[in-house]
């Protein structure tokens, strides 16, 4: 809650923004070209139009007939300017927005890529809802604003530049008075930017909190219901939501303050021109027409200033989003080894491994274990003993352990993660499926022959289940993955591991969601399946691991006992206690 907010400097964020648009230089040059062309033709049109007025004025004051053909000619030139202006404006806007979309697409790709590569240590610290909001909302905000910011700035600055040139041509004194507005506006804007940046950050953070809260409670709806705690959560949400409303108000109010002040400065400028100009006219230093022209240019000068003020407000939003996106992009990636020719011929070793997820809470303590190729090893112990951690380390999900984990004598840190992981398949405690067909969920994009798939399906005993589903293998698992039962899910993940056909098989509680009858069927086929493989099984159900070559009993991150089922029973140790408690049914009979 009391996280300190580190404010990045404006320069830093601008550098980051430029980094994001890097690689699109050509498109930007084209967009800027269109901007400048549009600005030029936009400021030329009134200039030409002035000739028409002059012609009318001259005709009237000299009592001559109107030169209609001359006026029509001028009007056509003016019309041409407007047409070119409109065309250029369209292309600049369209190109800029397309570019924004492309950048957004790239950024999302990059973010997903990054998510796939960062360390679990870092991922565990992040909130899911927050990450999702960064990838969807922040990128959207960023592209929407980046799309407009640069062309808007270029266009309006060119317009201002053109107007300044014209004003100096008319009258240097009044021009200088008008231009003094620029530094005043600049200081005012940078003051407001500085004041509001913090609220933008807080606002984004509050959005993240609200998102996480909603995500958590919507997915836990039935628990809230069962405990009658709707009101409790409504109240909690109300607090989060009120905080968001408060920061939202502050950030939008303070940032839009730029608009009224900017307008007031513009009006003061107008007053100065009218006041000073009129006195100059009386003194005979200025033409009356010049005031008229100045007022027109003032409008052209003031309008882009207002737009720039708005753009600055948008830029702040974009910057807040850039920072949030970079919180992910700046994370370190998993270290990868250099050896990509990974083979497993001999043994896996844990040597003096110490590991903790959080400082001061060791999970594995001086852990030593050797698994020989072809062995079926069972890890047994109470929950929290460290079994899943062993799997996490073996998979290379966490690298910050002391000691060594070796495959055939080579540290797994030296191995290319991809090649190394292709040696191993696992079936995890939490069955994870994704929206898509059953087939996709089992084989992903792997090419596999129908006969081979059929044999895998029958081996994993899922063939009958699939046959009973509408459309069989093409049955679509929904987004919530709740249209198949948890037992079926577990079977699918087992089939998935079989498709991968790994050297090493890890089963973490693989059978806990399969009912006992199904488990029996799976056990039989699993025996055949593990035959040519090294396997590591974690299960509370001792029945599934009785046939293992080696049973490792773990307690508090250390190995307590090792041996075969018979040996361990003879010892009458911790394993014996575990075993008898499970089979109290049989014992009592």
């Amino acid at each position: 809650m009391n996280k300190k907010i580190k404010m990045p400097t404006f320069k830093e964020t601008i550098t980051k923004t430029f980094k994001i648009i890097k690689g699109h230089r050509k498109s930007y040059i084209l967009i800027i070209l269109f901007c400048i062309l549009a600005a030029i033709f936009n400021s030329l049109a009134p200039y030409f139009l002035g000739f028409a007025t002059d012609s009318l004025y001259n005709s009237i004051s000299n009592s001559l007939p109107f030169d209609i053909s001359y006026i029509v000619k001028i009007l056509f030139i003016v019309g041409g300017c407007y047409l070119i202006d409109a065309t250029c404006t369209y292309f600049k806007s369209f190109l800029a927005s397309s570019l924004g979309q492309k950048i957004g697409y790239d950024l999302r790709s990059k973010l997903i890529n990054k998510i796939n590569k960062i360390k679990f240590m870092d991922l565990d610290k992040m909130k899911k809802g927050d990450v999702i909001s960064k990838i969807t909302n922040d990128v959207e905000r960023l592209t929407d604003n980046l799309t407009e910011i640069i062309p808007d700035l270029v266009y309006n600055f060119s317009l201002i530049f053109g107007v300044i040139v014209m004003m100096y041509v008319l009258d240097p004194l009044l021009a200088t008075l008008t231009i003094t507005v620029i530094p005043i506006t600049y200081f005012l804007l940078s003051f407001i930017v500085k004041k509001t940046q913090i609220y933008f950050e807080l606002n984004q953070r509050a959005i993240g909190n609200v998102n996480s809260f909603v995500e958590e409670t919507v997915t836990n709806n039935d628990v809230i219901k069962s405990f009658n705690k709707e009101n409790y959560f409504n109240n909690k949400f109300n607090k989060e939501s009120a905080r968001l409303a408060d920061y939202g108000f502050k950030s939008s109010f303070y940032s839009s303050l730029a608009v009224p002040f900017n307008k007031a400065i513009g009006n003061l400028n107008y007053i100065i021109i009218v006041g000073v100009g009129s006195v100059s006219v009386i003194k005979g230093n200025l033409r009356l027409g010049a005031i008229q022209s100045f007022i027109q240019y003032m409008k052209d000068f003031n309008k882009p200033m207002n737009v720039i003020a708005q753009v600055i407000a948008n830029l702040q939003m974009a910057i807040a989003s850039v920072d949030r996106v970079y919180e992910i992009l700046d994370l370190n990636e998993e270290d990868n080894g250099y050896l990509d020719d990974v083979r497993f011929n001999n043994k896996i070793e844990f040597k003096n491994v110490n590991f903790s997820y959080e400082k001061g809470k060791p999970v594995l303590k001086n852990f030593n274990l050797t698994i020989n190729k072809g062995e079926k090893v069972a890890l047994v112990g109470k929950t929290g003993a460290g079994k899943t951690t062993i799997v996490n380390l073996l998979m290379g999900f966490y690298d910050n352990y002391d000691g060594q984990i070796l495959i055939d004598g080579v540290s797994i840190k030296d191995l290319d993660k991809k090649s190394y992981r292709s040696l191993i398949s696992m079936v995890l405690q939490d069955t994870w499926l994704f929206e898509g067909t059953i087939k996709e969920n089992i084989i992903y994009d792997k090419k596999i022959s129908d006969t081979k798939l059929d044999s895998i399906l029958s081996k994993s005993k899922i063939d009958h289940l699939i046959d009973s589903l509408p459309n069989g293998l093409e049955f679509n698992i929904n987004e919530e993955t709740n249209n198949i039962s948890s037992g079926e899910k577990q079977l699918l993940t087992i089939a998935r591991a079989l498709v991968a056909d790994p050297e090493i098989l890890i089963l973490d509680e693989a059978t806990s969601n399969v009912d006992t009858r199904l488990e029996y069927l799976i056990n039989t086929s699993m025996d055949n399946l593990m035959e040519d493989r090294t396997s590591i099984v974690i299960a509370h159900r001792l029945s599934t691991i009785i046939k293992s070559d080696k049973i490792i009993v773990i307690k508090n991150g250390q190995i307590l006992e090792t041996g075969t089922h018979k040996e361990l029973l003879k010892n009458k140790g911790y394993y014996y206690e575990l075993y008898t408690s499970q089979f109290e049914v049989e014992e009592n009979n």
Binding site: S98, T217, F227, F237, Y270, E479, T544
Partner: protein
């Protein structure tokens, strides 16, 4: 629209916005008026003191304009953020009141985007657009009135230009509008795809399928990009087209004015003034346009939120009887079928459980055990048949009092971000002895004792800092603390080892002797000592009896026992 009714109570800000807008328009349009006085009177008569007096007036008007503008901005920010707050609040309350059926129907991810993304969309569009959409028409109308008084003969040209503009806009928006709904759906998909990858990252990495999932994500990502580009292609046509139409009308005005001036029916000064007022009308139109560009998005957001607010929750709390004590639970010919499903999930379920009984419900996964729990807690309602508590249909009970009767431990353990104490008690009164005893029964007290923070230990989102077993035991303790008369365990021991499983059950038998206990499980051992075991197979009751009876008579139950025995 229900969503519009939420403006009640904050309409005063809207009124303030209109009032300050009018004041500001007055100030803006009055300045040129003073200027023309300075030119016509001050300069013409070389009257410097008159000029100074008028300049002071202008200065005062500018200050009034500034103040009213600040107040306008303030009222806008207040209104849009308070409105967003009100929408979020009622939306969240509504979603919280949803039953399982509605949640499943919409899916969690769209409910999440609707209550976050869509609301912030409304707030941000309002906070920048609302001020302008109030201000711009007032400014435009003011300028139109001034223009008409200056040169009424030129007004038809402007009118025709405006009509052409309107027709063009209607055409473009009718083309673009339907696509915005699709855009929102794509955003939902993007959200879902991200969530999928985040939750399955371990599996994805283990199977080296990063590229496959990147491809899946990028497919949605691409669709989103392409649709946006298509929309922008059309939408960005609007602004230049509009400016062009108005600029061309300016040219036509100059041409027509020339003819009028030649005839002597118009002054040059009036023409110039008219062009200036048209400039203001143009600016107002432009501002309105920028806002209109954002309207489809906002309307889509409005519609999506409104859709949620309008949902009739299927589980209605129509019952009035308060349930205070529990004597019996009875299922009478209960059938249940999910909407659009082909087969019944539960078929003709009949059983009765009395106070003080310990009952086990056993069956394969997918056999319908959890559906029974959902029916009892009224997350769903029976398709036909009756569920009776103390002989009265559960629909006749006040739903809150009904749910209070159950101390429920769900199959999937769900804890919330926050302290352990909050997770266990929510907002209930804190009683250390009660808390400790429940934690002891659930075999999780040692976690509190071994922790510096004790009950203040913070559970992270998705309880990532607790193991599966710890979560499950906390969840059991939470149920015990709720004080329900019927302890309802839905496969609640799956992540706990057998020793702990047995210890917890023993402690419950000892400490909660007089309560009804319903244990749903796949483990035969867990329910061995139950007074009554109900065997569920394929959605129907296969048999009911105690362990000894069933081990002789029930085919399914025997299979369960055998599947364990064979391995010994």
């Amino acid at each position: 629209m229900k969503i519009l009714k939420l403006m009640k109570g904050i309409k005063k800000y809207l009124i303030a916005m209109i009032a300050f807008s009018i004041l500001q328009v007055f100030c803006e349009l009055y300045l040129p008026n003073i200027m023309s006085d300075i030119v016509d009177i001050g300069i013409a008569n070389s009257n410097t003191s008159f000029i100074i007096k008028e300049v002071i007036y202008m200065f005062i008007i500018t200050i009034i304009g500034l103040i009213s503008n600040i107040l306008l901005v303030h009222a806008t920010s207040k209104f849009s953020n308070l409105y967003g707050y009100k929408i979020r609040d009622s939306l969240y309350k509504k979603i919280n009141s949803f039953s399982k059926k509605e949640i499943d129907k919409f899916g969690a991810s769209t409910l999440i985007t609707r209550s976050t993304n869509n609301v912030s969309n409304i707030t941000s569009t309002f906070s920048f657009g609302l001020r302008l959409i109030v201000f711009a028409p007032i400014m435009g109308i003011g300028a139109a009135i001034m223009g008409y008084t200056k040169a009424s003969s030129l007004a038809p040209i402007v009118t025709i230009a405006v009509i052409i503009l309107m027709l063009g806009l209607v055409l473009i928006f009718s083309l673009v509008f339907p696509k915005f709904e699709v855009l929102q759906q794509l955003l939902d998909k993007l959200n879902a795809s991200t969530r999928e990858i985040l939750s399955g990252l371990r599996v994805i990495k283990a199977f080296n399928k990063q590229d496959y999932f990147k491809k899946r994500f990028n497919k949605v990502n691409e669709e989103n990009r392409d649709l946006n580009i298509f929309l922008n292609k059309i939408l960005y046509l609007v602004q230049p087209m509009m400016i062009l139409i108005i600029n061309i009308s300016t040219i036509i005005i100059v041409y027509v004015s020339t003819l009028y001036i030649e005839k002597g029916t118009l002054e040059i000064g009036s023409m110039i003034a008219f062009i200036q007022y048209m400039g203001i009308i143009l600016t107002s139109f432009l501002i309105i346009l920028v806002i209109i560009l954002n309207i489809p998005r906002v309307i889509v957001s409005f519609k999506r939120i409104n859709e949620i607010l309008n949902v009739e929750v299927t589980i209605e709390n129509k019952g009035t009887i308060k349930l205070h004590s529990l004597e019996s639970i009875e299922f009478k010919n209960v059938y249940f079928r999910y909407e659009n499903a082909k087969k019944d999930m539960l078929k003709n379920i009949n059983f009765k459980i009395l106070k003080g009984e310990r009952v086990g419900i056993i069956g394969s996964s997918g056999s319908g055990k959890t559906t029974i729990v959902n029916l009892l807690l009224r997350h769903i309602d029976v398709t036909s048949g009756e569920i009776l508590i103390n002989g009265i249909d559960i629909k006749d009970y006040d739903i809150e009092s009904l749910r209070n009767i159950f101390a429920y431990t769900p199959q999937k353990t769900l804890l919330f971000k926050g302290s352990i104490r909050e997770n266990l008690l929510f907002d209930a009164k804190y009683n250390v002895d009660k808390l400790n005893s429940a934690m002891e029964t659930a075999e999780i007290k040692d976690f509190i004792d071994n922790n510096k923070e004790g009950y203040n230990y913070i559970v992270e989102q998705s309880a990532v800092n607790l193991s599966g077993g710890q979560k499950q035991r906390m969840s059991i303790a939470r149920a015990l603390l709720s004080g329900g008369e019927c302890l309802l365990f839905d496969d609640s021991f799956s992540s706990v080892d057998y020793i702990t499983d047995k210890r917890i059950r023993d402690a419950i038998n000892k400490n909660y002797k007089d309560k009804m206990v319903i244990l749903i499980t796949q483990r035969v051992g867990t329910i061995k000592n139950s007074d009554k075991i109900i065997v569920i197979d394929k959605g129907a009751v296969e048999s009911i009896g105690n362990y000894d009876e069933l081990s002789k008579t029930s085919k399914v139950f025997k299979e369960f026992i055998d599947s364990q025995k064979k391995e010994v």
